[in-house]
């Protein structure tokens, strides 16, 4: 009588195999979603809802400062003239110190001046503030 040898042990195929390395296709729907979140109206809505509390000056500056027409800005010729639509008047008021601290912190984080932060908030509250009046004139002056 011969003894039957038991077969060797083998690892069964796993039900969940690791996926082979693949890259995100350029037409993946996530990019369209992300682009929609980068639109000015989407960001303004996010600011109004409180989801966005600081603007990255590098990726959101177009929200507050409309791009200068070709040939203008950055100290090129007549761009040194102000593009504001109305004369500027001084406004002085008192605010709680923690408000001012937050405005300064946002200026440090985003580069958006306290003046523009206030004007932008007023625009969100329904006060008319024209795009051209949100231009940061200090940048224009520095680069000329």
């Amino acid at each position: 009588m011969t003894t039957q040898r038991r077969p060797g042990l083998t690892v069964p195929p796993l039900a969940i195999e690791p996926r082979p390395s693949s890259r995100v296709a350029a037409d993946d729907p996530r990019f369209a979603v992300a682009e929609s979140l980068e639109r000015p109206e989407a960001i303004r809505e996010a600011v109004a809802s409180g989801r966005v509390r600081a603007i990255n000056a590098e990726t959101g500056v177009g929200l507050l400062v409309p791009p200068a027409p070709a040939g203008e800005g950055r100290g090129v010729g007549p761009a040194s003239a102000s593009r504001r639509t109305a004369p500027e008047v001084a406004l002085s008021t008192k605010v709680p110190d923690y408000v001012l601290r937050q405005l300064r912190r946002r200026y440090a984080e985003s580069g958006i001046t306290i003046r523009n932060q206030i004007l932008f908030a007023l625009r969100l509250a329904g006060i008319e503030v024209r795009d051209s009046d949100l231009l940061d004139e200090r940048k224009r002056g520095r680069s000329s």
């Binding site: 969940i16 690791p18 996926r19 390395s21 693949s22 890259r23 995100v24 296709a25 350029a26 993946d28 729907p29 996530r30 990019f31 979603v33 992300a34 682009e35 979140l37 980068e38 960001i43 996010a46 989801r51 966005v52 509390r53 600081a54 603007i55 990255n56 000056a57 590098e58 990726t59 959101g60 500056v61 177009g62 929200l63 791009p67 984080e109 985003s110 580069g111």
Partner: protein, 226 residues
């Protein structure tokens, strides 16, 4: 393939250190990786430039023409993994980066501010998931925890607090070690230069756990998919 974002609306929570370590771990494992630096101080590129093994890592930075979505689309087409480091605030980039991500890691120290910021960030990932109609793997990672055997009471308390609010907390945590602070000055990264050491083992455990979340997400059906 993974787009991994380190997000926390509170600053100083450890996002950038973790992003540096994540990129270094991918490099140590021979993976193809690039980074997107959304912190205006540009810490990633500066750090990688100091470490010969990381000097080749491509770090994209946005400007007014090259938006976040455009940069990530380009990196994701050329690299297997993209690591995104966000600014420590609820910025206009936060939701964009989350909507692009496969995995969002929310670092949290033990302060109440970290917990508040961590939960706000967690909710933002949930919103991004709804908007993107795609499951986004996510986890809170406890940071600057005690490297000793004894866990302070506040860590257990916070883990429980996050869990009660519905946030998943990694089992591994990023231990408080001088070596993380010295990386830039010494040009020495534990998981590149001393694999098997305690610090390297610590980050390796984090790496395996968070990438395990990605694998679990890939293996489960996506109810949010259209």
């Amino acid at each position: 393939m993974a787009i991994i974002t380190f997000a926390q609306v509170k600053g100083g929570s450890g996002k950038t250190t973790l992003a540096k370590c994540m990129v270094a771990e991918f490099v140590a494992r021979g993976a193809s990786v690039a980074a997107l630096d959304l912190d205006p101080n540009r810490p990633l590129g500066r750090f990688f430039a100091r470490i010969p093994e990381l000097a080749h890592v491509e770090v994209a930075v946005p400007d007014q023409e090259r938006r976040v979505s455009l940069l990530v689309r380009d990196l994701a087409a050329r690299f297997d993994h993209v690591v995104i480091d966000l600014m420590g605030a609820a910025t206009n980039d936060t939701q964009v980066a989350m909507a692009l991500s496969d995995l969002v890691v929310v670092p949290s120290q033990m302060s109440e501010d970290d917990f508040q910021g961590g939960m706000e960030t967690w909710r933002q990932v949930e919103e991004a998931e709804t908007v993107a109609r795609r499951k986004i793997a996510r986890a809170v990672l406890m940071v600057r925890t005690s490297s000793g055997a004894v866990r302070p009471r506040v860590e257990a308390f916070l883990r429980d607090a996050y869990a009660q609010k519905g946030a998943h907390v990694c089992t591994a945590s990023f231990g408080e070690r001088t070596v993380w602070k010295e990386m830039s000055y010494a040009g020495w990264v534990p998981h590149l230069h001393e694999r098997g050491g305690n610090a390297a083992e610590n980050f390796s455990a984090i790496f395996d756990e968070v990438l395990g979340l990605l694998a679990a997400r890939a293996a489960s059906p996506d109810p949010l998919a259209a």
